[in-house]
């Protein structure tokens, strides 16, 4: 059914009415009777031994109810914050996971690491109490610089050389051989700058405990409440899983940073139990800068071997990735299985070898941030490809076309462990080239020059692996959890429907998209479908939202459950229509007997299921509610072509993006308007990385970019008018044919911008972010 609200329609988002009018319910909006407030005491030192902590003055203050240190949590058996993905080194050894107590016990290892928590009757009293906590530290010189962290002064007793693991993927010998016989080698040393996520809503938690039942409830800003519950129950030992309900209500953005289980919600829910009182904590923006997991932060040496005609014959990549001070929940997987596996890009490069050394530094933990590993991979591949084209005097579009995996090559097995199911890379590139007017670029460049500006154009043909993930593949590669999704489609007596999903929407618009799918399939009004998410008490299970997985995995589970509802309904309808299942058609919400005018509507069937007067009770249970779990067969592979044009002011070094085209293949699209919105947001983040954003620590380990005075968040006026379009090759292995769109913008755009900028300046590389002074210096030849 194609309707105004069905699959493929640009339905306005249901959730926007409450978001835009300030009627959302975020964690900080939740208040409980007798609620206390928590404030964390954070390290000012990048690295120090804790000699002693004195909370007595804090406890003596008016309104202060409790002050806890890491030792108090440890004494109660509260465990370390775990990392959920085991990565093995080249030599087969396990990665080294240093102890990560939620609240520091004997050492602090980054500025902002909590070492005490004060709980008080009011927020003001909690702040005053936190200031009254005193501690005796023995400061130790910090390890900050990523380039020299390996082998620098050892941070963790358990981690020699500060190396978490030294991982490899691909065929080293074949790759070396390809390089040995290649006509040309292009090499680049590139840095993928550290980013700080900056969700609009800072992290927050409200912990509750009911002594009479022993039940805990945690409201928290999570992208995956079931996973938070699992970690808090199984690893951190807060409570049994069945005794802990985790609710992630409206959440104002995550971008990955709210996947992880952090110190604060752990300590809050634990303390709620201790005090048998509700406790609220909400990060200040400054705390977000210091203590949210940061993103990216790689240093890479990358080489591409080519034949004289431009054919790629080998790719060799060596990366050092920053883990920060501790391993955050999925940190280990980001620069390995979400990075190395993507280095084939859209190309037939036959031999690829990648080594990744992940190291610890005295900085905030680094973990998944929108795109997670795939932006870094795309940046490496697409910068190399563009540079190679320039070195060989080839057109950047031609060299890509020459090397593209062709439509007839699918399924295509890459040398780095993935099997791409489908794609048509030239289709996206062709459309992007048309939309940007590539043929007229020379004229635009000339007119820019006439105005005293330098103009450049840059391409980026990215691929990503989304829809995390086939559980058996992920678990065999070290994942500690399955990555399927669950759904329940619960039909009410009157035929309206509640859809329970284990995915979580924190800006993605699931309440709209998922409702479109179900209303379309059941032929009932869009308004009659409610999507319920973010509550372990209401949906069975789920792995949450990240890795562009919600539609392709969660949506597929919903389709599966909806199909079960239809199957059962058809049986009921057949009974009611005195026909047989085989002879009953279902279309646009109506069951009808083939070749007859007898029919019955879906709500009538639902009614009969709950008021089973005329109902096959001997064959079927009453009621109409079905559940499904869906485990994907493969990853999905969204891909596309981004082309960027920049103008540079040669006097100031200021870069302006004057043209940006993104043509993406996300497979089938449920809601084009939501997709465009996701792409716009992603582009802003990718462009932000290229030109604006940078998480900077000074040499001593203090965070320099700890507020918006210094951390440059992209703003609307930094962005051009994007031209976004799509091509479609449906995913071959999920029922929606969808591939996912949440991260593509951030994955593809960065390289396009930097390729355009280096083209404008006629230089090989400019470090990111390409701030005006950086560009000015690049023009000065520095």
């Amino acid at each position: 059914m194609t309707s105004e609200t069905g699959i493929g329609a640009s339905v306005k988002r249901k959730e926007d009415a409450r978001f835009i009018t300030g009627a959302g319910h975020y964690t900080d909006d939740i208040n409980q009777p007798g609620q206390l407030y928590a404030v964390f005491v954070r390290s000012m030192y990048p690295r120090a031994e804790i000699r002693s902590i004195d909370v007595s003055s804090a406890l003596a203050m008016e309104g202060v109810m409790a002050a806890y240190t890491g030792a108090d949590l440890a004494a109660d058996g509260i465990g370390d914050l775990p990392c959920g993905w085991m990565v093995k080194s080249k030599d087969g050894s396990d990665m080294i996971q240093p102890p990560h107590p939620p609240v520091a016990v004997s050492v602090v290892n980054y500025v902002g690491e909590p070492y005490a928590m004060v709980v008080a009757e009011t927020l003001q009293a909690a702040r005053d109490g936190a200031e009254a906590v005193t501690a005796d530290f023995n400061e130790i010189p910090a390890v900050v610089d990523l380039a020299s962290a390996h082998g620098a002064d050892q941070i963790h007793e358990a981690v020699p050389g500060n190396q978490c693991y030294d991982w490899e993927l691909g065929d080293r010998e074949a790759t070396d051989a390809a390089f040995a016989s290649a006509d040309h080698v292009t090499s680049l040393d590139i840095v993928n700058n550290r980013l700080i996520p900056n969700a609009m809503e800072p992290r927050a938690a409200v912990g509750m405990y009911e002594a009479a039942t022993g039940n805990y409830t945690l409201y928290t800003t999570s992208q995956n409440p079931h996973l938070a519950r699992l970690v808090l129950a199984a690893f951190v030992n807060v409570a049994a899983e069945s005794k802990l309900r985790v609710i992630a209500p409206d959440v104002g953005g995550g971008f990955g940073s709210k996947i992880f289980v952090y110190a604060e919600e752990t300590a809050v829910i634990w303390a709620a139990g201790k005090l048998a009182r509700a406790i609220k904590w909400r990060a200040d923006r400054s705390e977000s800068f210091l203590a949210d997991a940061h993103g990216r932060d790689h240093r890479t040496r990358a080489e591409l071997a080519l034949n004289a005609d431009g054919t790629f014959v080998g790719l060799r990549v060596k990366t050092v990735a920053n883990m920060g001070a501790y391993l955050s929940l999925f940190a280990s997987s980001v620069p390995t299985y979400l990075y190395g596996t993507l280095l084939a890009g859209q190309y037939r490069t036959p031999a690829i070898y990648v080594e990744v050394q992940s190291v610890f530094t005295n900085t905030a933990p680094v973990d998944a941030y929108r795109g997670a590993g795939r932006p870094e991979a795309t940046y490496v591949v697409e910068r190399l490809v563009e540079t190679a084209a320039r070195e060989l005097g080839k057109d950047p579009a031609d060299i890509r076309r020459l090397n593209f995996i062709q439509p007839e090559d699918f399924p295509y097995e890459t040398p780095v462990a993935l099997t791409y199911d489908t794609g048509d890379y030239d289709a996206s590139l062709k459309k992007a080239i048309e939309l940007i007017g590539y043929d007229d670029f020379a004229e635009r460049k000339a007119s820019s020059e006439a105005n005293g500006k330098k103009r450049g154009i840059g391409f980026s043909c990215y691929i990503e692996a989304c829809g995390l993930a086939p559980s058996q593949v992920a678990i065999s590669l070290g994942a500690g959890v399955g990555l399927f999704e669950s759904a329940e489609v619960r039909v009410d007596v009157t035929g309206s429907v509640s859809v329970m999903t284990g995915c979580h929407s924190h800006g993605q618009g699931h309440e709209t998209t998922f409702a479109q799918i179900v209303s379309d399939k059941l032929g009932i009004p869009f308004e009659n479908v409610d999507v319920v998410h973010g509550d372990t008490g209401r949906s069975d299970y789920g792995l949450g939202t990240y890795g562009s997985r919600s539609l392709v995995v969660g949506g597929s589970a919903i389709v599966k459950a909806t199909d079960k509802v239809i199957a059962k309904s058809r049986k009921i309808a057949a009974h009611m229509l005195e026909s047989t299942e085989e002879n009953v058609d279902f279309e646009e919400g109506t069951f009808s007997v083939t070749d007859s005018n007898q029919s019955i509507t879906f709500p009538e069937v639902a009614f009969s299921a709950y008021v089973p007067g005329n109902y096959p009770l001997d064959e079927l249970e009453p009621g109409l509610s079905e559940k499904a779990f869906y485990d994907p067969e493969n990853f999905t592979y969204p891909a596309g072509a981004h082309i960027c044009e920049v103008e540079v002011d040669p006097e100031t070094g200021k870069v302006e993006i004057v043209n940006f085209v993104a043509v993406d293949d996300f497979g089938e699209i449920i809601n084009p308007m939501i997709v465009a919105g996701q792409v716009h947001g992603g582009l802003a983040q990718g462009i932000g990385q290229a030109l604006l954003e940078h998480g900077i620590y000074d040499e001593s380990g203090q965070l320099v970019t700890g507020s918006y005075m210094d951390y440059t968040m992209p703003r609307a006026d930094d962005m051009p008018n994007f031209v976004v379009d799509t091509t479609v090759t449906p995913c071959t292995h999920n029922p929606l044919g969808a591939k996912g769109c949440g991260e593509a913008g951030a994955i593809g755009s960065t390289a396009a911008v930097m390729n355009a900028l280096t083209d404008a300046l006629g230089v090989v590389d400019v470090p990111m972010p390409a701030t005006p002074e950086t560009v000015w210096r690049a023009m000065e030849g520095e």
Binding site: T652, L692, M709, D710, M713, T771, W776
Partner: protein, 259 residues
């Protein structure tokens, strides 16, 4: 925030008395600088004396000058007046919310090194009127967040002579949008002045530019002129050297606007 006593006097004398009586008092105008400082617990005054009840708002035109009351909002100056370059400058401050709260008196009393108004104060040769007397622009800005404003004195208004021609060019900090470098070039009664903000610890006059322009008011007159950047600010957004370079670029662009 820490606890403080809040006062809202309705006349100048009362305000000054409250300040005199306070152990550690501070005036509040738009609060765009003060409130974030208090919220971050970076300041702990005992008393906050809100000036918004005083009649210090409004723009008055005289024969050869414009007097802007201390409580006049940036948005009110931006809305247009006889000095176009000043409206343009005000329009380039922060964002709409900031312009609808921030005041010229607060900006000038605070003297942030990246604030925009100080460039105009210096370039137009303005007079800062305070409860402790009038202060000439050339004497007012003394260092990083340091001015000639007497302790406890209130800025009441700023008087700007009407220039023959004047223009302001700003290179905004990409993060904060304050001025990395802002330059106002003005010619008033045949006198050329170049006011620079953002570059150094406080606003100052670029004298060699002024001389060159007095001889020959043209963009080319500034070519190759040195800017001594040894005392300039340096941060992650702009080194002292780059700021020095930008002073020349912004000055040339300002001149180009008005020849």
């Amino acid at each position: 925030m820490y606890r403080f006593n809040y006062h809202k006097p309705d006349d100048m004398a009362a305000a000054q008395q409250m300040m005199a009586d306070a152990e550690d008092g501070v005036y509040l105008s738009g609060g765009m600088t003060l409130i974030p400082t208090l919220k971050a617990r970076l300041a702990s005054p005992t008393d906050v004396i809100d000036l918004s009840g005083l009649a210090l708002s409004g723009i008055e035109l005289a024969d050869d000058s414009l007097t802007i009351g201390a409580l006049t909002l940036h948005s009110e100056v931006a809305a247009g007046n006889e000095i176009l370059s000043l409206s343009n400058l005000a329009l380039a401050i922060g964002d709409a919310q900031v312009r609808n709260r921030g005041t010229i008196g607060g900006s000038i009393a605070n003297s942030d090194p990246g604030a925009d108004y100080p460039a105009a104060v210096v370039a137009l040769g303005a007079t800062i009127n305070t409860t402790a007397g009038a202060i000439d622009a050339d004497d007012y800005f003394q260092g990083l967040f340091e001015t000639a404003l007497k302790p406890g004195a209130i800025v009441t208004s700023v008087t700007f002579p009407l220039p023959g021609r004047a223009a302001y060019e700003k290179f905004p900090n990409p993060a904060s949008r304050y001025a990395v470098v802002g330059v106002m070039v003005a010619e008033t009664n045949g006198d050329v002045r170049v006011g620079v903000t953002g570059a150094g610890p406080c606003a100052y006059r670029q004298r060699n530019f002024e001389q060159a322009l007095a001889d020959n008011f043209s963009v080319a007159a500034l070519d190759g002129l040195e800017v001594d950047y040894t005392e300039f600010n340096s941060d992650i957004h702009a080194s002292a050297e780059y700021r020095g370079h930008l002073v020349g670029v912004m000055a040339r662009r300002a001149v180009a606007q008005i020849i």
